[in-house]
């Protein structure tokens, strides 16, 4: 992976992983991530920001910010993963590279609470209006508990494992044949 | 004096009763006809009655101001007035209405009365769709007004009179005397204009439900809407009677019931034509319908008028 090799001379990047022939991931440090992305865009032709998302690794107590870029000439995708700690999480904005990133950042701020200082419209409502609790997509947010507390669950509702339920009620006696 | 006034009032009531019921039933029937074309069963023919009753039975309502309140009244007054200035049955005292007040010019301009009132009411509602609908409607109106007025001018020139009664009188004595046959270009122009006047497809841009939810009456509801629906029926009836009088010999028979039957048959056919066109063609945009009316229909009207000039 020439790009990785060249970039690694300048920046703190590591863990190159080939998912497919046309899809690679590597990790970048929080400090160098934007520089790496800039190089990828300006120098190596990864001009398209396919998506930008966050994975909450609660166990490791870190977020994995994943920038997925695409190179139209090589038909190659490059995922840049940035690990950041979950406390007071903040990341540099990349809206100056891709204006569309502002929307991703707005959504991530709302759903995960990751701050992107300077990103336009960061605090405007995205999908939620007036959310007051901790960001709902964080894994330490208990959505069932929240729903029970907030949305008046109808009493008498039963939940079943579909597999077990179907075995017992719909096809009694045939279970062994499965 | 008092007797004559009371008699006139009674006649007016009868005339009103007849046109209201006939028009409502006609609307219901035509909805059924449309449903048949689309392969449905369609609503009951009396559905318009139920709708009007229901709307008037609404328990609450809002008003945006005095003109909003008066808008439907203006509209209904326009429809009623238009109807009352047209003689329905030729030679009948009961159905002569108030046609002694003025001629076809009065009728043509009284049509504006209701439109203006409605436009004002819709305007005061403050909803942007209302004036959009009004602007479209008025723009389209000026366009079909041109062929229509040319047709009327041609007919008036043909018989040397603006009086509807005289125009009908001149057409008596058989179908070959109808304007439709003596002055076919005028009839053609007038009937094409009638398509726009009845606001059916393809000229239904005013209410365009998918785009500007039903246009001017967006904010109208409850008894306001009931009144508008009543007007829709009466106004339609009035326009059809006008066209029947102008182009198809009116309705005349010594027996008033047979005469009414003739009227019903002719207006039914006139409306059926509108509905057939409506179900066959998609909707025009405003500027398209303006171009349409200023094209072939105006040309036909011009031919009719020039025929009278030379």
């Amino acid at each position: 992976m020439t790009e990785f090799n060249e970039l690694s001379r300048q920046f703190q990047i590591s863990d190159l992983k080939e998912q497919r022939a046309d899809l690679h991931f590597f990790h970048a440090s929080k400090e160098h991530a934007v520089a790496v992305l800039t190089s990828l865009k300006e120098k190596y032709g990864y001009t398209h920001l396919v998506f930008f998302t966050v994975v909450d690794h609660l166990e490791k107590n870190e977020f994995h910010l994943t920038y997925m870029l695409h190179n139209y000439e090589k038909h190659h995708d490059m995922g840049v993963v940035v690990k950041i700690a979950r406390e007071n999480v903040q990341m540099e904005s990349i809206h100056h590279l891709w204006p569309a990133a502002a929307t991703y950042q707005q959504e991530i701020r709302e759903m995960y609470g990751v701050e992107f200082p300077g990103s336009p419209g960061l605090y405007e409502n995205f999908a939620l209006e007036g959310w007051e609790d901790i960001p709902p997509m964080r894994r330490d947010f208990d959505t069932k508990e929240y729903s029970d507390k907030t949305y008046y669950p109808r009493p008498g509702r039963e939940s079943h494992d579909p597999r077990e339920y179907m075995k017992e009620n719909l096809y009694p006696g045939e279970a062994e044949t499965w | 004096m008092l007797t004559s006034i009371l008699t006139k009032a009674l006649y007016t009531l009868i005339s009103f009763f007849v046109i209201l019921n006939y028009s409502l039933l006609l609307l219901g029937t035509m909805a059924r006809v449309r449903a048949k074309v689309q392969g449905r069963i369609g609503q009951p023919v009396w559905q318009p009655y139920i709708d009007i009753i229901k709307n008037n039975a609404r328990r609450s309502g809002v008003t945006h101001g005095i003109m909003f309140y008066l808008g439907p009244v203006f509209r209904l007054a326009g429809g009623l007035g238009t109807y009352f200035f047209i003689p329905v049955i030729f030679g009948s005292k009961i159905f002569a209405n108030f046609s002694f007040s003025g001629d076809v010019l009065l009728v043509m301009y009284f049509i504006f009365f209701g439109q203006l009132g409605m436009a004002l009411g819709a305007g005061e509602s403050g909803h942007p769709y209302s004036p959009i609908g009004v602007a479209r409607g008025l723009a389209q109106m000026t366009a079909f007004e041109l062929p229509f007025s040319l047709a009327v001018i041609a007919v008036a020139a043909q018989y040397g009179s603006f009086s509807i009664t005289e125009i009908v009188a001149a057409q008596q004595g058989g179908w070959q005397n109808w304007v439709a046959f003596t002055n076919p270009f005028a009839m053609a122009a007038g009937m094409l204009a009638f398509l726009g006047m009845s606001m059916n497809n393809p000229f239904s841009i005013v209410i365009a439900p998918q785009e500007i939810p039903i246009g001017p009456p967006t904010e109208m509801h409850s008894s306001f809407l009931g009144m508008l629906q009543t007007n829709r029926a009466i106004f339609n009836g009035a326009k059809m009677v006008l066209f029947m009088n102008l182009f198809f010999g009116g309705a005349a028979h010594p027996n008033i019931f047979i005469a009414l039957g003739i009227m019903i048959m002719k207006t039914f056919l006139i409306y059926l034509y509108v509905v057939f066109v409506g179900v066959s063609f998609p909707r025009f945009r405003t500027e398209q319908s303006i171009r349409f009316f200023l094209g072939v229909p105006t040309l036909l009207g011009l031919i009719a008028v020039i025929q009278q000039m030379i």
């Binding site: 209006e129 | 009951p44 559905q47």
Partner: protein
């Protein structure tokens, strides 16, 4: 629902004169909205009201709220296969003119705000039809952080149609059920809403946090 209708949180909706406080609106916008509270409109009595109820039941004008998947089941009703027009039912594009509010499936909090607004803009008597399990108890979204579980805690519902999704036939059955209710004089949920206005408002305000509208949308 009666179990907790009297269980009020401390949200003040009215002042001493019984006018709405419109606490959610900024001051400069208060003059732009009507601040009157909804009122109960008593029905007439006897045969006259029965006649009117018949007319109401035979002329149901739908306001379809199609943000859930149930909306897709509304469309076939208009086609020649189901032809709802023959039952006196027809769609209507504006809440002012519609009498029947069909909630087409799950309602997120964001959607709920619009549902409340549209419902209040309809003129009474008005009826609500909850379409699909999501409106009954949240359906498959029952534990979502953003989707309501019970529609009848926010607006009064006349008829629920269970299923995920119910077919158009079920919808027609529900409409027929509603007609029966109306004819029996049981379609008075608009009044119920006005009577229990504070309870409904409390529930609504509990989930709708940015309340940038008057408490009652005329």
């Amino acid at each position: 629902m009666s179990d907790n209708m009297n269980d009020m949180d401390q949200i003040q909706l009215f002042n001493d004169q019984g006018r709405l406080l419109n606490a959610g609106l900024p001051d400069e916008e208060k003059a732009l909205f009507c601040d009157a509270a909804p009122q109960v409109d008593a029905p007439y009595r006897g045969i006259w009201e029965k006649f009117l109820n018949w007319a109401r039941s035979e002329s149901l004008w739908i306001l379809g709220f199609g943000t859930g998947c149930g909306a897709i089941e509304l469309r076939p009703l208009m086609t020649s296969r189901y032809d709802m027009y023959q039952y006196g039912v027809q769609p209507r594009p504006t809440p002012r003119q519609a009498g029947l509010f069909i909630i087409g499936g799950y309602a997120s909090v964001k959607t709920m705000k619009r549902i409340v607004r549209s419902y209040e803009q309809m003129q009474g008597p008005k009826f609500v039809l909850g379409l699909g399990s999501c409106t009954v108890n949240g359906g498959m979204y029952w534990d979502s952080y953003n989707t309501i579980n019970r529609l009848d805690h926010y607006i009064p519902v006349d008829v629920y149609i269970a299923g995920c999704m119910p077919r158009p036939e079920a919808l027609l059955a529900g409409i027929n059920e509603l007609k029966k209710l109306i004819k029996e004089g049981k379609g008075e949920n608009a009044n119920k809403y006005a009577e229990n206005f504070e309870w409904y408002k409390r529930n609504q305000k509990k989930i709708i946090k940015d309340w940038n509208m008057p408490d009652y949308n005329w």
